[in-house]
């Protein structure tokens, strides 16, 4: 039995014609599909809002301070994610783990605040079926929460067992963290848009 030994090209260096390594190209394409997913949901929001005879002000139903706290928390987690990526590129592995740990912690804070917010709604008997506004609110924020959860799973993996690659293939691992950072910044950006459209407008 013969064993074919192949190495995947462009996992570390950029491909000459695209100027990107594999993971980054894949992430940009994934983010393009994510933009279309959220674009569809936002256009649904536009439709429901414009077609409704009466649309409540977001601030009259939702807690603006809690939404703002979550925005600050996610923005801070984006900063720590970028710091983690930068630390890895400088070869400071301990600093990378500390910053990624803070990112995970801040993401958990975000989820805690969000679950508190959801709990408040449920305790007032406000469910998705209560009104169109709440239906689109739960749909948009629910999909966003799934993305935050996905980001946490990836970051926990890179913080824990996945970090072994940082010792054996540091440049490849730095690329992975940079790519995860791109995704995390996207998740943060989506929350800013959600906060403005649902809570403030």
């Amino acid at each position: 039995m013969s064993v074919i030994n192949t190495t995947i090209p462009y996992t570390v260096g950029a491909r000459p014609d695209t100027g990107l390594y594999n993971a980054k190209l894949g992430m940009w394409l994934f983010l393009a599909s994510e933009v279309m997913l959220f674009g569809g949901l936002f256009s649904t929001y536009v439709f429901l809002r414009m077609a409704a005879a009466h649309w409540p002000a977001g601030s009259s139903i939702l807690s603006v301070p809690l939404g703002a706290v979550n925005m600050v928390v996610l923005a801070a987690s984006s900063i720590t994610m970028s710091l983690a990526s930068a630390a890895l590129k400088d070869g400071k592995f301990d600093r990378f783990r500390t910053n990624l740990g803070f990112t995970i912690l801040l993401a958990l804070v975000f989820l805690t605040v969000k679950s508190f917010e959801y709990g408040m709604k449920f305790s007032h008997h406000m469910y998705p079926q209560t009104s169109t506004f709440l239906a689109i609110y739960f749909a948009l924020t629910g999909v966003h929460i799934l993305h935050v959860l996905g980001g946490i799973v990836v970051n926990v993996y890179f913080w824990g067992p996945g970090s072994r690659m940082g010792k054996t293939q540091p440049r490849r691992f730095a690329n992975r963290i940079e790519t995860a950072g791109l995704y995390w910044n996207f998740v943060d950006l989506v929350w800013i848009l959600l906060f403005v459209t649902l809570y403030l407008l």
Binding site: P16, A32, S43, V46, M50, A51
Partner: protein, 76 residues
């Protein structure tokens, strides 16, 4: 074969009697000043803008790729 026949039948049915094709997505029941029609128009515009942004991004990426390839071939 049966599946092909079924699909063919469905298509023929749609061509012969196309009420769904004639249904106007912009003005429901022909009421163009209906708020639902205006809302749907805005939603379609919103979705179109998102798609346009993605296509611009992809187009720019392809142009950049072409530029890089030309540069690389010149250097080589």
């Amino acid at each position: 074969m049966r599946v092909a026949f079924f699909l063919g039948f469905l298509m023929a049915r749609m061509v012969i009697s196309p009420p769904a094709a004639r249904a106007c997505s912009v003005c429901f029941l022909g009421i163009s000043d209906n708020p639902v029609s205006a809302a749907l128009g805005m939603a379609v515009l919103c979705l179109f803008l998102v798609l346009l942004a993605v296509f611009i991004f992809l187009g720019k990426f392809l142009l950049d790729m072409r530029k890089r390839r030309l540069l690389n071939s010149k250097e080589a």
